[in-house]
Amino acid sequence: MTIHASVVPVVFLALAAHTLSPQAADESPVLRKANYLAILPGGGPQRQVSLKAQQVSPAYSDALNFTLIGPDSSTITAGEVLLGEERLLSIPGKPEGLHVLELDSGWNACRVDPRGIPSAMVARETVPLHTARGAKQLFFYVPRGCKQFSVWLVADAPREGARIEIAGPDGGKVVEEEGDYDKPQRVRATVPAGCDGKVWSLALVKPKAGGLNVDDVVLWLDPALPPYLSMREDWALTFGKRKGDGVNGVLE
């Protein structure tokens, strides 16, 4: 018997499988499971975000499934990115207003690069951020009048934990704390005078105490803060002030 084989061309950029590529400037941390990127297309011409699907282990075959949801909750587009590939996803300029990009990488991982489109990862109790391998620097807005807030963490895998470093508007560290975070735990921060109404940042790194690694961490901001973590400082300000400023303007 003869077999005539024809390989269907792959249209996306191929990345090396089994490796997690270095983080680009505006790129998100490594994401696992379901995450939501809030996007403000801004009403201009169509632009693109980059999605990269990364295999965590040969045992997992989940591709990255994405769904772009419009301001009225309708699905604008949906699709998948195969493991080891990058896909440029077009974001229509219209309708204007807040969009959400659902990124579900299952047991594998992904990264998103908004390529200049103002955006932020959603991080609230019911829709937390699922990161892997730590996070370099994520910016968030502390509203005017806010005196205290909390960041919640869970790292429930054995021998995994995290060190969280929360920095104030001047970049100085306000809170440094580490632990195994096997159960949801809050990390409290007190806002020094004059540091409200400004953008702060946080990072997740390997704990200094021996034996614990930083990998899968679930993180959310408490309701004192707008539920957004941005890869850029200016975006954090944009998202933080969407519902007005001040603690009374805080989202649900």
């Binding site: 084989a5 024809s6 989940d62 591709a63 301001p71 309708s74 195969l82 959400v100």
Partner: protein, 713 residues
């Protein structure tokens, strides 16, 4: 005291029951179902009145029985294994206080009245609760089941016969080291729900336990009940002497001495402990499944001996266990899927989950795999779904995931459309019961739309449940789920095929066959697939193609070597022409979307979607299923709209339509007669045409469920 000595040698299990597959069993009418474990059903005119307002076909009660399986005759009624497992001072009431023989007689009188009253209220089958393997008590303190055994002879009026000769502590399931197996582990001296007693798991192969099971069932049947729900019906992990002896008979009936030596390294292999997947583990599990099937048959026979008519046996244990459905339950009447947990609960429908600000994301739940897998076995068993908003879900989350009137209708519609005679669980809620009543009335008035049919499909997905034991890596069932989602979203009519059904004759019925991450494939099935492709079929293989045969041996050439060029397997997607047909080899299936349908249509060169016209995300959640009356040009088309929001805020369905169906219905060559039904709407004639060899039907709008009967002239 009379002591019953039971022979240890039981029936020889049908070890060689591999021969010809049984005659396919056709579909039955769906039914409605309520589960109610309440403790206050006897002597309650109010309860009978409540049920009579919307009686289900099947009512499943708790331990409303004369003799409970785990304690003997006790004060408490209702509940399952856990509920009412204590007495004072550990509980507020003496729930497990042993009833005297006089009280037991009164209990039977009350239960007879209950069964009779429920039947008069309109329930067809009433089935109380027993468990396949649980006893409670304390052997040293002679508490619980032991206390009852010590008083066995006082209950002679209930036809219990002679007291078992051995102590129940000898009936327990044991591990290879002889220690008792506990399925529900506990710390400390007692099982918390049974304080201060212990919950033990008994071996279903022990003749004493089977004897006791028969006695409790006989007494249940005497009350006028129609059958029993059997919990934990798949729970057997025993290495006791009885099991080991029966196992040797089993394995010797399946393999010659030479084969046993070659495959297992011994002519008398011991049962596997399950630490390694492979053939020995598969055979161990098959043996246990056969033992459990025998136990269920003993229950059915015991009930029938008393009632003189079929006694409904309704085991629990389908959820995530297709291998058990195939090997334990095919001859049971019903199988329960206890689907308690899912990322969005498990009630069928659409979840509108708030993400941020006013944006919500839509997620969909369905139970199509469960219903369809059981239907496609074409055996006696029929599926039942238990769904929930989840366990221990916060109130805010629960509000999003709760069943409402529309989603209750969807649940009944889904059972009807995909189950081939299935049922969907509802609880006693007056409003929901009225929805259920509409569906029951419809099912009974239009039974001909459902009975005596076989599924009609354009594609098939090969499902090999035994891979759970042979490779144990869980990839195949996950991929089957993905294939299911792709085909449903693409509106492709499909069947599942188990190993016995992968024959050249069966395969020829389908335009495409999907082999989802199959690691082991028998030579005769590989040969059937080769003939199918050569004759023009489309075979989609995902993941690494099979490397082993059904015995776990690696043949000199991989099973599908004639169909798959090894060079293509390194690519994400490759198609090959083989004879008149095509193989498509894909690294993986996407979890969502309908990519699989694109591959099939590309290879087949024609559309296989049952819905014509432009697709939208909401439209993709309209699911279609078709049955055919064997030998006749008569088809029944089911359409189910899953755009039904869940949650206490009852938003009503997102109505879809107009929808144009485009169906390949062999035997119909000119415009057929088509009549459209809706359990919650009107009947109407609809026009149908034949175009390009397909039947075209326009459905103006679909709220939740429509059934269209199409008859060729």
């Amino acid at each position: 005291m009379r002591i019953l000595i039971l022979p240890i040698l039981l029936l020889v299990l049908p070890a060689a029951a591999i021969g010809d597959p049984p005659e396919p069993v056709l579909t039955k009418a769906p039914f409605t179902y309520i589960l109610d474990y309440g403790p206050d059903h006897i002597r309650s005119p109010a309860y009978l009145e409540t049920i009579s307002q919307g009686p289900p076909t099947l009512l499943h009660l708790g331990k409303d029985v004369p003799f409970t399986h785990n304690w003997g005759p006790i004060q408490a009624l209702g509940g399952e294994n856990q509920a009412y497992g204590r007495r004072k001072p550990y509980a507020d009431q003496d729930y497990i206080r042993r009833l005297s023989p006089e009280e037991t007689g009164q209990r039977i009188t009350d239960l007879k009245k209950l069964a009779d009253g429920l039947h008069k209220a309109g329930v067809t089958w009433v089935t109380p609760y027993i468990c396949s393997m649980t006893i409670g008590g304390h052997p040293e303190r002679r508490a619980g089941f032991w206390e009852f055994l010590d008083h066995w002879d006082e209950y002679r009026p209930f036809d219990l016969g002679s007291r078992p000769a051995t102590d129940p502590i000898q009936w327990l399931q044991v591990a290879p080291d002889g220690k008792p197996v506990f399925f529900y582990t506990f710390e400390g001296d007692f099982y918390p729900a049974y304080e201060p007693n212990i919950r033990y798991a008994v071996c279903q192969n022990r003749p004493e336990w089977r004897y006791w099971t028969e006695k409790i069932v006989e007494n249940i049947a005497r009350c006028g009940f129609d059958g029993v729900f059997v919990d934990n019906a798949g729970s057997l992990r025993c290495h006791c002497g009885v099991c080991r002896e029966k196992w040797q008979t089993w394995i010797q009936g399946r393999y010659t001495a030479d084969e046993r030596q070659r495959l297992f390294g011994s002519e008398s292999p011991e049962m596997s402990d399950g630490k390694q997947p492979g053939l020995l583990w598969a055979e161990t599990c098959r043996f246990r499944c056969a033992s459990l099937a025998e136990h269920l048959k003993a229950i059915a026979d015991a009930g029938r001996r008393i009632t003189g008519k079929p006694f409904v046996v309704f085991p629990n244990g389908g959820e995530k266990r297709p291998e058990h459905i195939l090997h334990i339950y095919p001859e049971a009447d019903l199988i329960m899927f206890e689907r308690s947990v899912g990322p969005h609960g498990t009630h069928p429908g659409m979840v509108l989950r708030p993400v941020v600000e006013d944006i919500r994301v839509k997620k969909y739940n369905d139970n199509v795999f469960e219903y369809k897998f059981v239907q496609c076995l074409r055996r006696k068993v029929r599926p039942i779904l238990l769904t929930r908003p989840g366990y221990n879900v916060p109130t805010s989350e629960r509000k999003l995931l709760e069943m409402n009137l529309a989603s209750a209708a969807l649940g009944n519609a889904e059972a009807a459309a995909f189950g081939g005679g299935g049922g969907f669980l509802q609880r006693v809620d007056p409003e929901l019961m009225q929805v259920q009543k509409q569906f029951r009335d419809f099912f009974e008035r239009h039974a001909a739309l459902y009975e005596g049919l076989n599924s009609h499909a354009d594609a098939a997905v090969v499902v090999l449940p035994d891979l759970a034991w042979l490779d144990g890596n869980g990839r195949h069932p996950l991929e089957v789920r993905k294939a299911t989602g792709n085909l449903l979203d693409g509106h492709v009519l499909f069947d599942y095929l188990i190993a016995d059904q992968v024959t050249a004759e069966n395969l020829a019925r389908y335009a495409a066959v999907v082999l989802p991450r199959v690691s082991h494939l028998a030579a005769n099935q590989a040969e059937a697939l080769r003939r199918y492709v050569e004759a023009g079929g489309v075979l989609v293989v995902t993941g690494t193609p099979p490397e082993f045969n059904e015995k776990g041996e690696r043949p000199a050439r991989p099973p599908l070597a004639d169909l798959i060029d090894p060079a293509t397997t390194a690519k994400p997607l490759a198609t090959s022409q083989v004879g008149k047909g095509t193989t498509v080899v894909a690294a993986a299936l996407p979890a969502e979307g309908a990519k699989l349908v694109e591959w099939i249509e590309g290879a087949a060169g024609r559309q296989v979607s049952a819905i014509a016209g432009p697709e939208t995300p909401a439209r993709s959640k309209v699911r279609v299923n078709v049955f055919r009356q064997p030998g006749k040009a008569r088809y029944v088309v089911h359409m189910v709209n899953y755009n039904v929001p869940l949650g206490v805020e009852d938003r009503g369905p997102e109505v879809q339509g107009p929808i144009e169906l485009s169906l390949r219905l062999p035997g119909i060559t000119s415009a057929p007669k088509a009549r459209c039904y809706d359990p919650q709407g009107r009947e109407s004639e609809i026009s149908a045409q034949v175009r390009d060899g397909k039947i075209r039907l326009a459905i103006p709008e679909l709220r939740i469920y429509k059934v269209v009967e199409v008859v060729g002239s």
